[in-house]
């Protein structure tokens, strides 16, 4: 059965084109995906991301549990409200999911995991948590609205209770805090996102989500669909689970080495496999590609390199750049001149360092 977020009727009333997204009936656009993309790059847009799964962890040994569960080190979280991006690995070092963990107290951490992996994530986390006597509590009664763009923070701040504004204005990147929204509704405001722009991701209870959405719209925040979210995150160089990595891929092979913390004496799940792979040499690497010719790079296209074939992972037309960009996984080593097979035509592509876009502007060399 298709699931619906509490904002479903709101999207439909706005004339959204709805699609099935991992079992959820979600808006792909409200008319023009490209215009929504530009709205986020230039001003402010909002996304319903209530399909994402919020999981609260309670227990005296919560931190110890997360040291075991996550490839990144939860010990980097020292201040209440701070957030950390991490992969959750299986014993083979494959990625079960990527997630954000928030430090809300020594006995209270919050995870936000992907919608499409909800069931297996919950099963895995519960299985691992038992030995640590940590309580795993899904919070399906929460909605989530991501407000992103250069004007996003100012527009959200204007809706908060006066007493909360200075504190939320000073909230650092990758940190969260509680605040009161319109009509005093309780909000969990995180300065995080998936677009490469500044902004907030706001968790709000279902009962207040529609009112918050409407207040944001009245403040001039443009509704944006999951189509724009995908092109924004690709330009920003952010991985999408299921497309750029999965359980058959290690973080080394997904350009997520920066999220692996091999801190002394921490035996997290998958660590042995990761160390083994690193010592033996990582066979495949993930790179950024730009197509300067006309055409569009797409998931699944074959990439031809001097070292053998690879494939396009996430690929799309990039509205900020007016050309196609992609992530590709290719054999390690010197790639040489690269081409992509687009419907039987071999088209030259350029290997680049990504992100492709940061803070609304194309990065150097793109």
């Amino acid at each position: 059965m298709t699931e619906k977020t509490v904002l479903n009727a709101t999207h439909r009333a706005l004339g959204a084109r709805m699609v099935d997204f991992g079992g959820w009936d979600m808006p792909i656009n409200y008319g023009s995906q490209i215009e929504e993309h530009h709205a986020v790059r230039r001003d402010a847009g909002m996304f319903d991301v209530s399909h994402m799964t919020v999981i609260d962890l309670h227990g005296a040994r919560s931190r110890e549990f997360l040291r075991h569960l996550l490839a990144n080190s939860v010990d980097k979280l020292k201040v209440h409200g701070k957030a950390l991006y991490s992969c959750m690995l299986n014993e083979q070092g494959g990625v079960i999911d990527d997630l954000i963990v928030y430090y809300l107290g020594e006995e209270f951490f919050r995870l936000v995991v992907n919608a499409g992996t909800r069931a297996k994530d919950l099963a895995w986390i519960e299985q691992q948590a038992a030995a640590f006597a940590v309580q795993v509590k899904e919070r399906p009664e929460f909605a989530m609205i991501a407000v992103q763009g250069p004007s996003a923070r100012a527009k959200v701040l204007g809706l908060l209770h006066e007493v909360d504004r200075p504190r939320i204005e000073k909230l650092g990147k990758f940190a969260a805090a509680a605040a009161q929204g319109p009509h005093g509704m309780p909000l969990f405001v995180a300065r995080t996102g998936y677009t490469g722009e500044d902004g907030f991701e706001i968790i709000v209870s279902d009962e207040h989500a529609v009112a918050l959405w409407e207040a944001l719209a009245a403040a001039g925040v443009a509704p944006a669909g999951l189509g724009a979210r995908d092109t924004l995150r690709l330009e920003a160089g952010m991985n999408l689970y299921g497309q750029d990595m999965d359980e058959t891929v290690s973080p080394w092979e997904a350009n997520l080495g920066w999220t692996i913390a091999l801190d002394e004496g921490r035996a997290f799940i998958g660590r042995a496999a990761l160390e083994q792979q690193k010592a033996a040499g990582v066979p495949r690497v993930m790179v950024g590609l730009v197509l300067d010719d006309k055409g569009v790079l797409r998931h699944g296209q074959k990439v031809l390199t001097a070292n053998g074939d690879g494939e396009i992972l996430s690929g799309s037309f990039a509205p900020t750049l007016d050309k196609a960009v992609a992530f590709a996984r290719i054999p390690a080593g010197t790639a040489g001149d690269m081409r992509v097979d687009i419907r039987g035509r071999e088209v030259p592509v350029r290997l680049v360092k990504y992100p492709f876009v940061r803070d609304g502007k194309p990065c150097e060399g793109i």
Partner: protein, 131 residues
């Protein structure tokens, strides 16, 4: 959704064909199809002078979301292509039945037009599509 012009014939795969006064047949995709595809970003036009065969691929349109083959509704020779689409593929989104036409064919057998859906039949098809 804009009104479907009554002089158009359609393939089930959403291409339209318009028989012009000079005997040529203009080809495009329906407004319904452009809506399904979303913002178009690239059109691969056929070559002028190339032969196209009814029901087979003649062009490709790419939206942000996906690439989609455009089938020729009628066999013949391509005599003109809509060069405007090289720079402004979004013209198809804006005016699918007018300025967003894709190519013009000199048909080898105009009787093939009779095998296509008329506007009413096509409208019925996409109504069923939506449910």
């Amino acid at each position: 959704m804009s009104e479907i012009p009554g002089d158009l014939k359609f393939l089930k795969s959403h291409e339209w064909a318009r028989a012009e006064d000079d005997g040529l047949v203009r080809v495009g995709i329906s407004d319904h199809a452009q809506g399904q595809l979303g913002d178009l970003v690239y059109v691969e036009l056929p070559e002028i002078g190339s032969a196209v065969k009814a029901g087979t691929g003649a062009a490709v349109v790419e939206s942000v979301k996906a690439a989609s083959d455009i089938y020729a509704p009628i066999s013949g020779e391509v005599v003109e292509v809509n060069e405007l689409l090289n720079d402004k593929p979004e013209t198809i989104n804006e005016d699918a039945y007018g300025a967003g036409w894709i190519f013009l064919v000199r048909p080898s057998d105009r009787a093939e037009l009779d095998e296509l859906l008329d506007a009413n039949e096509y409208e019925e098809l996409i109504e069923n599509d939506d449910h």
